[in-house]
Structures are given as C-alpha cells and as structure tokens.
Amino acid sequence: MTNSKQKALILDKPSIDRAMTRVAHEILEKNKGAKDLGLIGIQRGGVHLAKRLAEKIKAIEGVEVPVGSLDITMYRDDLDTRKSQPVPQATDISFDIKEKAIVLVDDVIFTGRTIRAALNSIMDYGRPKRIQLAVLVDRGHRELPIRADFVGKNLPTSAREKVEVSLAEDGLEEKVVIFEE
C-alpha cells in the first residue's frame, strides 16, 4: 500500500501499553487526582487512546472520567490549499466542559496545527478550567508554539519520515512504526 522504503518498529504492543499506563499516572499526578477531569480524543488517532486512558484511570483511581471525541476538520488552517476536503468525523462531547480540566488526547504531535485547531474548537463548546495535552508520540518539527504535557514516547524524526500508529481497536496489529517516504 505504501511506496515508502525502510521501516523501523518504534513501539510494540506491550510498549504502547506501558507508555499509556505511565501517561495515565502522570495525568493523575499533575492534576492531583481525577476530580473535574475530562478526556477528549482528537479524531481520528486520539479517540481510542482517550478511552484507554479513561479505563486506566478508573483502574488506578477508581474514578470514571468522562470521555468525548472531537473532530477538528472545520477548524483546519489548510482548507484553502488542499486538493480535496477531508470528510469530517463525529464530534461527541456529551459532558459540560465548563470548569473542567480537559486533557486533549492525540496519537502523534507533529507541526502542532491540529492541536491549535482543537483548542479553537474546544473554546466554542464552553470555557474549561484548563486544557492539557497527552500524546502517544512527539515527533518534533513544531511549526507553532505548542507543546504536550504528557508524552508516551519522544521520537526525533526527519521531516521526510512518516510516523504511523496502528491500534487494535481498528482491527490492526498494534504498533508504532516509522516509514521513509
């Protein structure tokens, strides 16, 4: 399916799980518990990861944290320059984000533009107490002053490379790999 060469396996299934467990602990540590927490997964890579974090938080702290999904297509900054429009996915935030400590969850942070769009989108839903960011992989190359609070794996990459996260919820073999374009 790809005409890219070289592949390096960065994280396998157990490594992904350990990273997520650590991230869940870090979220609870930084927020001093799960009070007023809300997790929002960014479509599409962050949605499953957000649910996993919620499950881990429940296992650690015994608290059920609300989980939502956010599609940022309508807030992208590149709609004018793309050859075709992306099809928006569902946004489902069924809890009130007012006064909540929101943790945005995504699989990979790269230029930071997706997160910028997510911040603008969240603000249209209400005024949260604070917003933090959890990602599975930080691959560098930020084009905006945006950083993640919780990182599963720091992965220096070259701009030509492509990072792909495959999750079991999508019916794939669970792994994080690097492709060379």
Partner: protein, 309 residues
C-alpha cells in the same frame, strides 16, 4: 474527497459516491446547528452571494444560515430591488458581482439552465437553488438525507412522489438522486401533470394515488400551484384533494408506517391535510436538515488549491 465539479448545478449525472459524500458530510454539519455557539470558522473570509430571481423564504434563509454558520460573509440579492428592474442582464449582474470577488454564487431563476449558463462564464462556484422546471439539487439532497436518517438507508426503498410532477424541479432532482442511490421511485398525479416519457428517468407512473402509495416507505407530496387550475390542468381544488391529497385515511391505507414529506410551502387541506402535516410528517426535519446539507455543499465546493481552478 472532493466533488468533481466547481459547481452544483443538478443531480443528473452525479455518481452515487458523490451523493453519499455530501450526505455523510452533512451529518457532521448537522451537529453545528445543535450547539450553543452555532458557528465554525470553516469558510471564514469567503463571500457567498444569494442571487434570487424568484421569491423564496425557506431556501434563501437556509442558504444564508448555512453560509453564516460557516463564518462566511453572505449577501442576499433579490432582484425585485436590484438593477434587474432597470433591465440589467443576467450575465452583467453576475459578472458585476464576481468583480467584487465573490467565492460562491447561489442562483434561483425561472429559466431552466440559467445556473449552468453562469457557471460556464464565472470563476465562482455556482450552486443551483432552483432553475425553472429543471432541477433543485439541494432540495433533493436534503430529502435524501432525511429519508436516510429516518429509514437508515436509501437503496431498496420505495418512494412515491405525488403531485404536479410536470412543473416540479424538486421531483426531477429527486428522481435522479433516488434512482442513483438505488431506490425505487413512483410518480403519481393527474394525467395532465405527469410529463410523457418520465418512465425513461426510471420512475414508475401511477394515476391512482392509493395504488401509488401502497407499501411505499416514503411519500413525498408536492405543492399544488393553484394557478394551474386557471390553465385547465385540474378541475377543482376539492376534486384534486379528494383524488390526490394525503389525508389520515389514505395514509392509514399505505399499509405500513411510511414517512411523509413535503418540500414546502404547503397548501393545508389541498395536497396534504393539516392532521397529517402536523402529526405524522417529517416536514420540519427536512427544513432542519436543509441547513446541514447546504453547509456540506458549500464546504465541499469551497476547498481546493487556487492553482487548479
């Protein structure tokens, strides 16, 4: 994914994939109208012009809201108060508007083909909001969206369209769209109002309404234009209502719970009874869905790199 053309002029010739793309996209835009802040920045800075040569409440307001909820700048031109009254031609009007750097022009006109005429000559994207007796693509799209929302699918279902098919651009667009998506379409009305050859479009013709709606999954009633009586196309409103109107008794005879639709505005007591319209129809859902569908169309037409215009 992208639409294959810079304009939306009609449903005829649209691939099922494209129709599905619009309907899927509309589903996510419907959420925007349910939020407290009914706005997304998607078309920020874009200029949308409603150029309506015919009167309209519903369609024009729907397009205006769709554009505004996408953060576009929307201007309404109704020709009765414009220089068209001084004899300015269609092309001059449109070119003058485009000279003000419009991005999308939405046209409703009494001449079939007017939007296509403009689309060929303008760089802006042209959306047909109803041209003559030809097509009304966004109405058909919102109708299909509503049917799909209520019944779960479009392929394999049966839709009966009842009324003045001859003069209906809504009927034509719906026939093209529904058949492309795999639905079976029946048309019904007085023989004076069924165009000869409509079977070639894939619709089955009925002159008896009870037969036409029996077992149908959706019944779409069209407005009876009362002026047609003066032209001798039907003998009287009461006779029309008796033979082709949808009332409770007739709806019960359909044999299953069919959804009842009407593009509006409706003549209560003529093509549809107040009871059916108020208690058993999805007419207001159609209106709500219209905004979402029009948002989706504008979104899909507005993207794209300038280099490939």
């Amino acid at each position: 994914m992208a639409l294959s053309s810079k304009d939306l002029l009609g449903i005829k010739g649209m691939a099922a994939d494209e129709i599905k793309l619009i309907l899927d996209t509309a589903a996510t835009f419907k959420d925007v109208s349910e939020r407290d802040i009914k706005k997304v920045p998607t078309l920020r800075g874009k200029t949308v012009i409603n150029l309506f040569y015919e009167a309209s409440t519903r369609t024009r307001t729907s397009f205006e809201l769709a554009g505004k909820r996408l953060s576009a700048d929307v201007i309404n031109i109704s020709t009765s108060t414009s220089s068209v009254t001084k004899g300015e031609t269609l092309l001059d009007t449109a070119q003058n508007i485009e000279a003000m750097k419009s991005d999308i022009i939405i046209v409703r006109h009494s001449c079939s083909g007017a939007p296509e005429y403009l689309a060929k000559r303008l760089k802006s994207s042209v959306i047909n909001a109803g041209d003559g007796f030809h097509e009304h693509p966004t109405q058909a799209l919102l109708d299909m969206f509503t049917i799909r929302e209520k019944l779960g699918r479009l392929d394999g279902i049966t839709v009966a369209i009842v009324g003045d098919i001859l003069h209906s651009r809504v009927a034509r667009s719906n026939i093209y769209g529904l058949t492309a998506m795999g639905a079976a379409v029946r048309v019904c009305g007085p023989p004076t109002m069924i165009p000869p050859g409509i079977e070639k479009m894939g619709a089955k013709v009925f002159f008896d309404m009870d037969e036409a709606v029996k077992g149908a999954d959706a019944v779409m009633m069209l407005r009876l234009q009362l002026e047609r009586q003066a032209a001798g196309l039907f003998p009287g409103v009461r006779e029309y209502a008796r033979l082709f109107g949808l009332n409770r008794a007739r709806l019960d005879r359909v044999g299953k719970s069919a959804i009842v639709m009407h593009p509006g505005p409706m003549n209560r007591g003529v093509e549809i009874s107040s009871d059916v319209a108020d208690n058993s129809s999805v007419i207001l859902d159609q209106v709500t869905n219209g905004v979402a569908v029009r948002m989706a169309v504008m979104f899909l037409l507005s993207g794209g790199s300038k280099a490939e215009a």
